[in-house]
Amino acid sequence: MSAISRFITSRWGLIVVGAVIGVLAPVLVKLGNPGNMGICMVCFDRDIAGALGLHRASVVQYIRPEIIGCLLGALVAALSFREFKPRTGSAPLVRFFLGMLAVFGALVFLGCPWRSYLRLSGGDWNAIPGIIGLVAGIGIGILFLKAGFSLGRSRPAPKAMGWVMPVVMVILLVMLIAAPQFGRDANGNPTGPIFFSTTGPGSQHAPLIIAIVVGLVIGFLAQRSRFCTVGAVRDAILLKDSRLLYGVLALIVAAFFTNLTLGQFTPGFEKQPVAHTDTLWNFGGMVLAGLAFTLAGGCPGRQLFLAGEGDGDAAMFVSGMIVGAGFAHNFSIASSTSGTGAFGPVTVIVGVVICIIIGLTMREPKGA
């Protein structure tokens, strides 16, 4: 292993990576992204789902270049360091549904683990029950891991399979730039196929070129360092290895100081950007998300980076997240700034039950 690789996967390497992300995310907010949403893997997948017409919540529709950049940045890193290894076969269908469930939980809270930390660093105290819920969900997941839970083995796959997600990302980039419109309805509203918000969070975004470059940088660094916002908590509890946790703490501290410097630190519970104040379901939503991410082996960012290095199972999880985000809005599961959606709480309960069933039943087949 080269000295650079050794450094970047060390505690100090992760602190540097976390700090870089912690600075870049609030800067993206300054440049146009929604409040405390410099990077949010779930919100951004939800916006992409909306832009593709998978849901019609008109305020959250945009093809987020950060997602494209993150996956392609991880691809570049994997190719550069000979870690591009296409593989699949570890319960892809279950991973797809775990992606859906994770997104349901995260959209009840209104943010992925990345955003929960970024919300905290921006002074949104509603993030605290969310993060406690996240840790609780990861804790439940750890119990299953200790009891022998496994989604089974992946197998090496043809190189071509590893290029599917990168190609999808390039197509999304073309759609973002070209934004094709096939016509307008009787009221003059665009009929798609690509929808972009004109008001609300979906209409707020940093310039494309900056967003994609930041995504590329984060994707590259995160692939090299194995940065994971869920693995951080999992490894600290399960393996007494706090290396990744230092990365997350560095992210929070760096984002706090950057927010302070940019005048974006507004402490309190009320009137926080793209957030609600329902403590119980901020907690509950993230219990589901934390559990689903832990069963799938990593946070939504990590899944995206793994997809970039050719992991077809992580790609299924990412696909599940985008499809799930569509369902979350169509079925009134996602929260809004005014509170939880009509079916948010019940979906969280059902989702946790499904995750428990997955945790109890998935074992590596004997003789595999």
Binding site: T9, R87, R153, P156, R226, L238, D241
Partner: protein, 73 residues
């Protein structure tokens, strides 16, 4: 005679290879343990865990792109 345990963690994603290694090393004071993994992240994680537990680790790249880790104490 020095018997060698083999852990085949190929195809499994973290933290499973580390947990399997942890299980294999438990109660083992000396010996040689062979761990097979197929991603760099698993190679790093198993090496780090074994190193912290006082085992010396040598890594061998295999022709199929996987890694053979020899843990000795």
């Amino acid at each position: 005679m020095d018997t060698m345990k083999t852990i085949d963690a190929r195809g499994l994603s973290c933290p499973q290879p580390v947990l399997m290694t942890q299980g294999a090393l438990k109660g083992l004071k000396t010996g040689t343990v062979e761990v097979l993994v197929d991603t760099s992240a698993s190679r790093e994680n198993v090496s780090r865990f074994a190193g912290k537990s006082g085992w010396t680790v040598t890594v061998e790249d295999r022709p199929d792109g996987s890694f053979r880790l020899l843990l000795k104490k």
